[in-house]
């Protein structure tokens, strides 16, 4: 085949190679570092790397397919004003091309699957909700923070600070945090965008996600699973503060909410507040 259609094949190869050579550096150096969700935590950085690797692997295939399409539409077009329909070449297949395609796509896919798995394990679940028994856990001291999803607001409990419940999420910088996400009613999803954390809140389930905030700042919290009427309004702003500021804040919260503390149920990884059907 190559001997007969050298020029087309060579041109397409050239388009692919040159196109990749141009696009790949842009992807690695310009687009990659700006991929979501940002650099506020190690977990987020890991996701950015992951996204960049995905883009890098996709680039040659995209350039090839789009380049081929553009070239083919131009090079193989029927001449304008042709009155009699003439056929193209009766090529029904070409085993070497099929094998090459299968081989390269398989290698790419397997590589991505393995890379994604290592990224998942290396970052203690990469910020995803990993269920009540995560496969990889961080070593060292971990601050547990419970995120309670309810229709239609998130509240937060700190079990190691007396089980105090607050309406604001504040975290100390540089401290590994274990979010224990649960729900009191419908299925919600705790999405802390800049932290790179997303964990669904299911009733009766403890969904754990690990993250270590690295910089002081704020982050968006949004509910990412349709939970009813005010799903779109179920958002919040979280704060990452210095360790001393955190201690001051949590002490303030414990004082402010001392009145309600005696009514709160004991801290637990999931709650069964009351019967499912209310008699009104």
């Amino acid at each position: 085949m190559w001997s007969k259609s050298n020029s087309h094949g060579r041109r397409i190869a050239a388009i692919t190679v040159i196109g990749t050579a141009i696009v790949l550096p842009l992807v690695i150096f310009v687009l990659g570092p700006n991929m979501p969700p940002g650099k506020a935590t190690q977990v987020a950085r890991g996701q950015v790397t992951d996204n960049t690797v995905l883009l890098v692997v996709m680039t040659p295939f995209t350039v090839f397919i789009l380049g081929y399409l553009g070239y083919a539409i131009w090079a193989f077009r029927a001449p304008k004003g042709e009155t009699e329909l003439r056929d193209g070449a009766p090529i029904r297949g070409h085993m070497p091309s099929q094998i090459a395609w299968l081989a390269t796509t398989t290698v790419a896919v397997l590589f991505l699957a393995i890379f994604g798995t290592t990224e998942l394990l290396a970052n203690n679940g990469a910020g995803s909700g990993s269920g009540p028994n995560p496969v990889s856990k961080p070593s060292g001291q971990v601050l547990p923070v419970q995120v309670i999803g309810q229709q239609w607001e998130f509240t937060y409990r700190y079990p190691t600070y007396g089980g105090v419940e607050t309406a604001q999420l504040v975290l100390p910088v540089g401290q590994e945090v274990a979010f224990h996400v649960t729900s009191l009613d419908a299925v919600h999803s705790f999405w802390a965008y800049e932290l790179g954390v997303k964990a669904d809140a299911n009733p009766g389930v403890d969904n754990i996600a690990y993250v270590k905030p690295a910089k002081v700042g704020t982050f968006q919290i949004r509910c990412a699973e349709l939970c009813g009427l005010w799903h779109g309004y179920m958002f919040d702003t979280g704060r990452i503060v210095s360790t001393s500021d955190f201690k001051t804040w949590i002490a303030g919260e414990r004082t402010a909410f001392a009145g309600i503390m005696k009514y709160l149920p004991k801290y637990s990884t999931s709650y069964s507040p009351d019967p499912p059907y209310r008699a009104g």
Binding site: I148, Q150, Q151, W152, E153, T155, E165, A167, L184, D185, A186, G228, L229, W230, Y233, F257, G259, I260, Y263, L264, P265, P273, D274, P276, Y277, R278, A279, G280
Partner: protein
């Protein structure tokens, strides 16, 4: 009058019918509670009078057994949960609750937040926390950080109100509080107590329908 004219008429009629149907559809979708604009005086504060009832009754709603908020406009109780409030103003709310106790799903929400002075008055007494199991409803505007638990009428109370509107002679709890509206915006408010009888987790029906236990606060 050829076949073509007939076809044109047919197509035109079809387009007209579709247009009318789309118009009716959109009209139906824009249905909602009539907004209630709180009357302003130049005093820097406004008054909002609300009541919550156990059953809204057939005159005010096709769902007569649903719980609901009602707002008082010139002495008449309307079922409207869309309220227009002026910006940067103190809002004094008086709420009469005629509904029984349901209990909060998350007891944390029985502590008031976001109020001027930090407390609300329950039947005249200033407090900031109630027994979560005695809560009947809450008034909450989460985007403004406001939440007030509303005490419910005891099960043994005499003279409980049947259908809205309820007269003050029926058993009720009175809650008054003040909060400040900030800049302009469009906020939602909701009840947090699972008071929708019979629905799963008590959060269906009136608890998830604008016009009963949910609504908007338009700060202009």
């Amino acid at each position: 009058m050829g076949a073509t004219a007939g076809k044109v008429l047919g197509v035109a009629a079809g387009v007209l019918v579709v247009g009318v149907l789309i118009g009716l559809y959109i009209g139906f979708l824009t249905n909602g509670p009539t907004p209630y604009r709180v009357p302003t005086a130049n005093t820097g504060s406004v008054d909002l009078k609300l009541e919550t009832v156990a059953a809204v009754g057939p005159k005010l709603s096709p769902n007569k057994v649903w719980v609901s908020y009602l707002v008082n406009e010139n002495g008449v109780w309307h079922r409207s949960t869309v309220w227009t409030l002026p910006a940067n103003t103190l809002v004094h709310v008086t709420l009469y609750n005629f509904d029984g106790q349901s209990g909060l799903r998350n007891p944390f929400l029985a502590q008031a937040r976001g109020l001027v002075g930090g407390t609300f008055a329950l039947n005249g007494k200033p407090i900031s926390v109630i027994d979560p199991a005695a809560a009947s409803h809450t008034f909450a505007i989460p985007q403004l950080g406001v939440i007030v638990p509303i005490q419910g009428v005891g099960d043994n109370a005499k003279n409980q109100c049947n259908y809205a509107p309820c007269a003050l002679s029926s058993a009720h709890e009175t809650v008054t509080f003040t909060f400040r509206t900030g800049k302009k915006g469009h906020y939602r408010w909701q009840c947090f107590v699972p008071c929708a009888a019979g629905f799963v987790y008590g959060f269906g029906g009136p608890m998830q329908t604008v016009g009963y236990m949910d609504g908007y606060v338009d700060v202009v």
